[in-house]
């Protein structure tokens, strides 16, 4: 087997950050696994993404031309299979994303390859490739091997690996693939924007975020008031948005917003599910308040306190009153 194949990801003309991170992961094991590192990018005009993908360590960029700019699982799968037949890579990296979930495992079935999902560590062990993933709500880590598999497909966790810093010197090639047998059983209709509700989590620099710990919809206004009083934008975790207690635009996390510009994050009653962490674990200063001393959020927070969120809210109100906010 030779080399690593990466599948780049983009939506509506924007390349996802995950693509660069996948390259970083590949480059990290390139030496031990052996090159070349090839990046496959698909679409109507895939050449548009070449510059962004030409990072240090990338050997080839394959352009897979197809007649739709939108994600189609069958097309992706077929193109990757074509690239795999040609390049015979030992490792195929796909992002563990909404799109990746649509075809990664299917690819493993088509190839008869090894497979692991939501991987955050890639090494070489005594049996060959070894991937590390988490289990039971991020409580434990699991190392898996793929004995007897010439090729392994991994879906890689986002916001984990770092893209290579410098630019690369990749050769650009066209991928020849026959898509004629694809029957078009899957047809893109349209996109629906997430409603904004006047809140921009992505731009906010100070966020107060509420989770299941606030217990009831009736308590939301109280925390909204608190956020306003201390000058923070109100955010929330997924269960709050799912239940309709706050508009989706307030949701921080994988299927919500990444708090990209946030400097200070106050998490109240949020346990710290992986998807939520995705949206905020990068933040410089995180303060977590929860009643559960074992909540995973404390693993990424800077400061924490184990206490009742209502008591905390009361105390914070009083403290900020005292300062005369």
């Amino acid at each position: 087997m030779s080399g690593i194949l990466i599948v780049a990801e983009h939506t509506r003309g924007a390349l996802s950050e995950l693509s660069g991170e996948l390259i970083g992961a590949a480059v990290g094991v390139k030496e031990r696994l052996g090159g070349p590192v090839r990046v496959l990018v698909l679409g109507e005009q895939p050449e548009a993404f070449v510059d962004a993908l030409n990072l240090e360590g990338v050997d080839e960029i394959l352009l897979g031309r197809c007649d739709t700019p939108h994600f189609d699982a069958a097309v992706y799968e077929e193109m990757v299979l074509a690239a795999a037949r040609q390049g015979e890579p030992g490792l195929i990296l796909i992002g563990h994303s909404a799109n990746g979930l649509c075809y990664g495992a299917a690819l493993a079935v088509s190839l008869g390859s090894g497979f692991a999902a939501d991987v955050f560590g890639i090494e070489i062990g005594e049996n060959g490739l070894r991937a590390t993933r988490s289990g039971y709500g991020n409580k434990i880590a699991i190392e898996v091997d793929f004995p007897g598999k010439p090729v392994v497909v991994l879906t890689v966790r986002g916001a984990t690996f770092k893209p290579p810093p410098g630019a690369g010197t990749a050769i650009v090639k066209e991928l020849a693939a026959d898509l004629s047998m694809l029957s078009g059983r899957y047809r893109h209709e349209d996109y629906i924007e997430a409603p904004t509700a006047g809140v921009d989590i992505g731009k906010a620099d100070f966020i107060l975020s509420i989770g299941r710990g606030i217990q009831d919809e009736k308590n939301v206004p109280r925390f909204a008031g608190l956020a306003e009083r201390i000058g923070a934008t109100l955010g929330c975790s997924r269960p709050i948005a799912d239940s309709g207690w706050l508009p989706k635009a307030h949701q921080v996390g994988l299927t919500g917003k990444v708090a990209a510009n946030c400097k200070l994050y106050l998490a109240l009653g949020i346990s710290g599910a992986v998807q939520h962490l995705h949206g905020m674990k990068h933040i410089e200063t995180i303060i977590a308040i929860n009643t559960d001393t074992n909540a995973p959020i404390y693993n990424v927070a800077t400061y924490g306190a184990v206490m009742d969120v209502f008591e905390f809210a009361d105390a914070l109100e009083q403290a900020s009153d005292a300062i005369g906010a």
């Binding site: 939506t11 563990h96 495992a105 070489i124 005594e126 010439p150 899957y186 990424v300 403290a319």
Partner: protein, 1031 residues
Amino acid sequence: METRELFWGLTSFGTTVFYLIGFSAIGAFFWGLARSVAKYRRGRASPVGLDWRAGTRRMLADLLTHRTLRRRDPFAGAAHAAIFFGFALLFIGTSIITLEYDILNPLFGVTFWKGQFFLLFSLVLDIAGLAVLIGVVAMMVRRGAFRLPKLDYRRAYAGEGELRDAARRWRVEDWIFLTALLLIILTGFVQEGLRHALERPSWGAWEPVGASIGALFDGLQLDAEDVSILRAVNWWLHGLGALAFIVALPWYKAKHMVAAMGSLMARDPLALRRLPKADPGAEAVGIGNVAQFSWKDMLGFDACTKCGRCHDACPARAAGYPLSPRDLILDLRLHNDAEQGRGTGSKRLLGDVIDPETLWSCRTCGACLEICPVGIEHPVKIVQMRRKLIENDQLDPLLRTMLNTIGTSGNSFGEAARKRANWTRELEFKIKDVRQEAADVLWFVGDQASFDPRNQEVSRTVARLLKAGGVDYGLLYEGERTAGNDVRRIGEEGLFESLVEHNLGQMKAARPFRRIVTTDPHSLNTLHNEYPDFGEIAPVSHYTELLVDLLERGTLKVTRPLGLRVTYHDPCHLGRLNKRYDAPRRVLELIGCTLIEMPRNRDNSFCCGAGGGRIWIPDRPGTLKPSQLRVQEAAGLGGIDVFVTSCPKDLTMFEDARKTAGFEKDFIVEDIADLVAKAIELDAIDLRDLPSLTERITLAVAERVAAVVADRIDAVLAGRGVTAVAGLTLPPPPVPVAEGLPTASVEAIPAVGWGIVPVKPADLPAYDVPPRNGIRILVPVKQIGKLSDEFVFTDDQRSIPGEYFEYLLNEWDDTALEQALRMVEAIGGGEVVVVTVGPPAAEETLRRALAKGAQRGVRVWDDDLADADPVAVARMLAGVAAQERPDLIITGAQSGDQANGATGTALARLLDLPHAALVVDTDWNGTDSMLVTRELEGGLRHRVRIDTPALVTMQTGANVPRYATMRMVKLAKEKPIVELAAGIPECAFRAASTHRMFVPPATRAQMMEGSPAEIAASVIKIIREKMGAKA
């Protein structure tokens, strides 16, 4: 001979007419009664057996002593007694007259209504009439001038400023009743007075009232003829008025006179303490239609006199909740009067007549039931209606979650069952495990006392007290589950029954014990009153009773009488419901406390608000917690040191209320056990389990010997130039290999020839797939494991033993199942088949899915599949799908334990189906293609159309999965589950194999300590540092 003439001045024609009217009136009266009885008969049989003899005796005692009316309203009690006894005497008097006049005299020529008897008779009746008059006038004044809140029919909690129409009619009815009585009495006295004025009997003084009125008429100086006319007219007025009263009686407020007697006779002495079991034969669960009430319930509706005592007593109403027991009963009465027990009308009982919010507001504290003078059992009806709401899945989502939690982990805190006895770890001794060792007493701890931190402290204190008192007691440890008192009162009867079965089973399998003690009144109530309905159980006492015994015998010695001024809150389930008031008071006395009773104490104790499941349901805005009203009451006493509780929920509620209501400086809240501990200086008592004296001596000697020998050996070896034997120290433990370091180079990777080998579906044994009848949707589900906080790995480090997990249905698959059920319901036909790859224990999850509405289940397994990866699992599912050939496969996007998000997609490829992942909405009419909406990062949604048959994986939040009651789970046992053995060769396939599991090194936040105020101050400081002076 003194007597008087009846039917004075009436011709025989007039008398005949009167008799005719009289008989007609009585006939009409009975007809009116019969109509009501017919209405009751349309109701169901009473679920509780009735002891008529005891009931009748009790009812007569109630009436003769008027005890139910005198309580807490002496004015009304006295006035009513005057009316009642006066009326009763007048009735008896009329009957005596009838006896002689219509029966004994004409038939046998016997007369006795004369002479001394007559005189006494007349005096008594005059006084009786006067009593009625005074009573009625008193009641009129009370109703008109006292402005009692309980007589106000406006529903403050519904924001009513004015009386609604029905309530206006009630008010009119109230006044008509009183006025009618007044007029009858007045016309009666006028008649008497006129008689006295005309006849001036010599014995007139024996009818003092009559004589006085006669004198009045004399004073008017009317001539005899006018008086005669007046007398005749008034006679008819009085006679017809009385008869009209009788005719009308069954039709309005007056009917309480009959209905109340029936209601009091039929009263269940164990009402609410012991709720009726669900009828196993009945189709319907609970009460969802007025015809499902029992005749006793319907009689109760009619017995209500709108006295308002229940309205006054209800803690929910006082705290602003939309529940007034009085209004509930009256609304049910109005509805039943319209339906006449039939329940065929268009108004729905639950929704149109009674708002579910009203039913959920109840605390099942029993205050209404307890004070009702006519024996109406309000909470029992509420619970039965709640059973229906649960069945219909009309419950607060948090309550739904709570019931699921209790179903899975056996406690309301969502903690792993194995942590139930963790509170005992801090004790300096080990408590017996009754499952292994016999004991005198089983201590049934309960959820709140096992898991709530503040109550855990009290549990430890009680454990120490019992140990110091030499009580031989033990626990069931993890075998105990919540006793289920509140689960039953929420209305989840099926779950309650399974809890009873479990707890009784644990007690039966344990070593012998003589009796049960508990610190939890809710557990006490159900163990003592309800569990015997299901099996034998030992007698149950409250820990305060045990403490009294220990203190009185001197086993626990009070060395430091406390000298505190305390007030004591009677817990609803201990006091009012189970009548146990004295033990805690005796304890307080024995430890030297002065008890100042709150105005509402003992049977009138004011509920803390946690009962009836309310501790699990969030509070509405604009309401208080009843506990806040209660601490205000305590603070009003002035100069109280301690507010004493003897129930874990009370402790939690009142500590909270004390803070939120701002009474921190006024008093502290403590459990009675803490006070006893202080009084006997428990801290100074050594409770450790010390080894016996001989053991201790032997150990001391052995240590000395070993020390001497070691010195000798050292000396000998030194003489031989050998250093001390290093083998006495253990080798250092192996250093765990840091993750991420490569242990082999590229060359060591075994070379495998590159090739593509597409995976195929597993070949499973064929089974009988029923013929298709509409759409078939296959829903693969997974039973996931929730890992407890404390766990260990197996020796090979490749898995974790099953005992550290709690198993439940995967949330994503639950959403998928709900989506499938809704699709089939919308399309109007078809079946949902659930399939799982799991061990026999996973059948429970299939049953739950079947309980929610799936028609069939399939389970595939072989022990070799225990560590199967998503692709290996998908192969098995594909093997089933190949036989089922469904129109659609819907599964969860990922599992809650491994979160691969891969099984569904792999399955789609194995079957070559079009597929979409992370779907939040579907639109399919059962034909060739469906529109699905996928959720992408950032909340962006992507809609695609896929041809069917297809596979979709569902994201949570797409719908709210329905709740399956335990009853539905039991019924689901009838639905078929096929078990397929996967077969060894097929099981071998893996796309990945586990090398090892480990706990990743975790960074940890810097934890802030201190009071809330201190922590808040630190946070403000951080905010100002990072964000500038914004906060």
